[in-house]
Symmetry: C3
C-alpha cells in the first residue's frame, strides 16, 4: 500500500522534522504516556440517501474498528458520512497515519483523480507539521510538506491532546471541496474520569454531526474535478450523513441509525456532542421535550453554563450539552432553520432524529 517513492521519502524527512517538534513539545519525564495509533485511509465511493438517490463521496476509512493498519492488498471499507469517529484521552500520545490510496471511483481524466489530501485536527491547536494545511510557507520544514499527501503515500500526525472535549478532523486541501465531498469526522478527547466531562457526570453520549451536500458538486468533482463554487446549492442537509424521511421503516433514514437515535432511561443524563461542518447553513438544533445545558464549546469548559432549547451551530463549531432525561417520553430533535429540513425540496428530509426514552 505504501509506495516508497521519491515523494514519500521527502515526506519522511518532514516526519522526522515533525518528530523533533513533537519531542520539543512533550514534557520530559512523561515517557510512559499511553500511545494511541490510528490508521486512516482515503477512499471514495457512493453514498446512498434515504430517498434512494446516490452521490459520489470521499472519506477517511478505517480498516477495522481498532483503526489498525490494513494488511497489504486488503480491501478497504467503503467511505461513510461522516468518517469514523476517533476517540482518545487527554494526555495520550496520538499517532494518526494518513494513507492516501487514491480515488478509484473518480473519472481517470478528472482533475480530482490525483489530488493530495491531509488531515487537519480542528481545534487541536497543533504545530505546523501536524496541522494539515498546505501552502503556508514553512520555515525549517521541507517544501514538499506544503503540498499535502500524494496518492500512494502515507503521513504520520502526532500530538498530545491537552483538553477534553469535542473536535473534528477534516482534509485541508482545497478545503471547501474536499470537506464537502465528505472528508470529515468527529474527534473526541475524553477526560481521565469515565462518564465525566468538564467535571459533569453523564450516563450516555451521542455525537450528532451536521453537514451539507450538493450532489451536483460531488458529481462534477468526480467527473471533471472542477465546480463553479458560487453555484453551490445544497440539496442534502445531513445528520450523521443521513436525512429523515416520512417512512419510519426506511433503513437509510436517520432514525435507523443507532448513532443518531438518542436512547436513554428516565433519570439519566445524556451528553450530546454537536458538531458542524456546513457550507454556510447555520443549523439550529432543537430537541423537543428537553432543554439542554451547554457546558462546553469548541473543546473548552464553559465557566458559566447556560440552558437552551435551540442552538445555532455554524461550520466548525462544537457544543457539548447535557440533557437531563426528566421523564419517559418520546420526542423528536431537528434543525429548526426550516430551510435545513427540506433536502431535495421536500419536508421533512433533513437533520431530524428521535429521542426515545424508556
Amino acid at each position: 500500500m505504501r509506495s516508497p517513492s521519491k515523494r514519500s521519502l521527502l515526506l519522511a524527512v518532514s516526519v522526522v522534522a515533525g518528530l523533533l517538534l513533537l519531542a520539543a513539545a512533550t514534557r520530559p519525564g512523561v515517557a510512559s504516556r499511553p500511545v494511541k495509533t490510528f490508521h486512516l485511509y482515503v477512499n471514495d465511493g457512493e453514498w446512498e440517501f434515504a430517498d434512494g438517490e446516490k452521490s459520489y463521496i470521499v472519506g477517511y476509512v478505517a480498516y477495522n474498528s481498532k483503526f489498525e493498519e490494513a494488511p497489504p492488498g486488503a480491501k478497504l471499507p467503503a467511505p461513510t458520512i461522516p468518517s469514523p469517529e476517533i476517540r482518545v484521552k487527554v494526555g495520550d500520545e496520538v499517532h494518526v497515519f494518513l494513507h492516501h490510496n487514491g480515488h478509484s471511483h473518480a473519472a481517470k481524466d478528472s482533475a480530482f483523480a490525483n489530488v493530495t489530501h491531509t488531515i487537519h485536527f480542528h481545534g487541536m491547536d497543533l504545530v505546523q507539521a501536524y496541522d494539515g494545511v498546505p501552502g503556508v510557507p514553512a520555515e525549517g520544514l521541507p517544501a514538499k510538506l506544503l503540498g499535502g499527501v500524494p496518492v500512494g503515500s502515507v503521513y504520520e500526525y502526532k500530538f498530545v491532546p491537552e483538553y477534553e472535549g469535542t473536535y473534528l478532523y477534516h482534509c485541508h486541501i482545497d478545503s471547501s471541496t474536499h470537506i464537502l465531498l465528505g472528508m470529515y469526522g468527529a474527534f473526541v478527547v475524553e477526560g481521565k474520569k469515565p462518564n465525566t466531562i468538564y467535571g459533569h457526570h453523564y450516563d450516555r453520549e451521542y455525537t450528532l454531526f451536521f453537514s451539507e451536500m450538493d450532489s451536483a458538486h460531488n458529481e462534477a468533482i468526480r467527473t471533471r474535478g472542477d465546480y463553479e463554487m458560487l453555484k453551490w446549492k445544497t440539496d442534502y442537509f445531513l445528520l450523521n450523513g443521513r436525512i429523515f424521511t416520512d417512512d419510519l421503516t426506511n433503513p437509510l433514514s436517520t432514525i435507523a441509525d443507532p448513532r443518531s437515535v438518542i436512547r436513554a432511561k428516565e433519570g439519566e443524563t445524556v451528553l450530546l456532542r454537536l458538531v458542524d461542518a456546513s457550507f454556510s447553513h447555520v443549523t439550529a438544533f432543537h430537541p423537543h421535550a428537553y432543554h439542554m445545558k451547554v457546558i462546553g464549546i469548541d473543546g473548552r469548559k464553559l465557566e458559566s453554563p447556560y440552558w437552551k432549547d435551540t442552538i445555532p451551530i455554524a461550520s466548525g463549531e462544537r457544543y457539548d450539552v447535557l440533557v437531563p432525561i426528566i421523564q419517559k417520553r418520546k420526542s423528536i430533535a431537528h434543525d429548526h432553520n426550516l430551510g435545513g429540513m427540506v433536502s431535495t425540496g421536500k419536508y421533512p428530509r433533513g437533520p431530524l432524529t428521535i429521542f426515545a426514552v424508556e
Copy 2:
C-alpha cells in the same frame, strides 16, 4: 363548529389518554392551580404588506381577546402575522383547544385544502400527547393522534408551564410549509411577580417576532398545495408580520403597529422579547442608541447576563433583553443582516421599527 365525526371520536380517545398523562404529570395536592383556557381556530385568508401586495396566509385566530370559544356559526377574525400572543403564568394549568375550521381561501383541488394541523409549544418540553408532532411512533397512544387534527375536529392541549420566559407556538404538520404560511405566534409565560422576569424588574415590554415569507410559496400552496422547497426565495422579511417603508404614514408599516413601536419614558427599563421563526435567515437585531442586557434565552434565566447591541437570532430562538432607557431620544431598531432589509428587493423594507422615548 365541532363535527362529532368518527375522526373526532378517535381523537377524543387520545384526549382521554392524554388526560391520564397529564394527571400523572401534575403533583398531588395542587388542585387549586389556576386554569387558563384558550380556543384557537385555524383560519386562512389574505395578508397585505406595506407595499400594497397581498399574500395568502394561514394562521391561528382567536374569536375574541379572551380566547373564548366561538358560538356556533360565529364569524372568525381573519388571520394575522403572527398569530395572537398567548400569555399564561408559571404554575397555571393551561388548556389550549385547537379547532380546525378548514381552509376556505385555498383552492378546492389544492392538496393543502384538507391537511391536518397541530400546535407545537416550542420550548415547553411537553409529553408526546401535547407536543403537536405527527408521525412519531406513539406507544400507548391511539394511532390517529399521529396524523394531526383533521378539518372539522378539535384537540385539547394541556400543560403546566414551569419556567417563566418567552416561547413560541406553531404548527408541526409539514412544518416548513405550515410555519412559513404564517402558523406561529408568541407564547409568554409570566412569573408570579408583576413586571419582573428572572428576578429583574421592567416597566414595559414588547414582543418582537421575526419571520420570513416567500409569497410565491404561499400562492403555490393555496392553489396546488405543493412547492419545490429548494426554490424558496424570501421576498418578505417581517417584524410582527410587517415591513417598514419610507412612507412614515403608511398604515401597514411596522411603525403603524403599536406592537412594534417601542414607546417608553426616560429612566424606564424596557423588556424586549425577541422571537424568531425564519426559514434560514439569521436576524441580527440592532437597536440604535441603546445596548441590551441579555438576561434570558430560550425560556431560561441566564446566570451571567451580558450586553449586546446586535443580537443574531436563528429560527426557534428567543432572547429576553432589558433596555435601560438612559435618555430621551428617538432611534431606530432593525435587522443588521443587510439582506433582511431588502424585502421585495428594496431598502428599507424589512424588520425596522422605532424606539420612541418621551
Copy 3:
C-alpha cells in the same frame, strides 16, 4: 470644498440644535476633556482584488493619517476597503466632520450620483442628531436633518465615548447599498490604560474586518444607481477588503496586508478585534493553532469570558478576543463557513490570513 448653500445653512441650524443636545449630554465641570477631531471625506473609485478584477467602491477617506482637514483643492486619497480605522479614548470629546465631496466616478445620469450620506457610529448609542439615520421624525430638529448630508456639504458629529471596545461606523442612507459599496470602517475606543482592554493586558492588536461584496451590485449602482436587491449574489468575501489567493507573493492578497497578517512573539498575548458588516453571510472565524478567549462583545466587557476556536459573527457584531501565543508556530486563520472561502467561485479566495509567530 464647502458650499454654503441653502441646504448647508439648514444643516448648520441642525448642528446648533445638536450642540445644545451635546451640551445637555456632557456633565458640568469636565471642560478639560481631550478633543479629538476627525475629517472624513466621501470618495469613490475603483478597488482591485487579488484576482485582478476591479470593482466600483465608495468609502470614507482621510486626507492624511491625522484625519486633518484637507486644504482647499487638495487631492483626496482613493477609497479603501474598509475605510480608515478611527481611534479615540474613553472620555474624549470626539468631533467627526463628514465632508460630502460627491461621486466623481459614478455615471452622471446614475441615480446614485447625487445621493446624500451620513455616518452612523454603530454601538455608540448616540442621540438622534449624531446617529446618522435619516427619515426618523425628529421632534425639535430641522426637517432637513432627515435627508442626510448632500453633495458639497459638511456635517459635524459629536460625542463622548463612555465604553472602551470595538465599534464600527458606516453610512445609514439607503444602508444596504451604501454599506455594501464600501462605506464602513472600524471605530475603536481605547481605555485609559495602554495595552489594556476590559482590565486584560495585551501586547499587540489587530482589527479584522469581514465584509461582502457583489461586484454586479456595485457596477449597477455606479451606472444606473439601482439594483434589484433580491438578486444579490456575493462574489467577494473580504477580510480587511481583500481575499487570499494561492499565490503567496500576490501584493493584493490578504497576506500582503500588514493590517491582516498577525505577527507576534512567543509568550505574547494578541488582541483581535473582529468586526463584521456582511450582507447575510455569517463569518465563522477560525484561527488554526490557537484558541481565543472572548473577553468583550459589542463594546462591552464580558463578565464571564469563554474560549472558542471558531466564532460565528453576524453583520454588525464585534468580538474582542485574546490569543495567548503559546508557541512559535505559523498557522492560518480563516472563515470556516466554507461558502465564504470561495469568492468568485474558487477556493481559497476568501477571508484567510496568517498567524506568523516568531
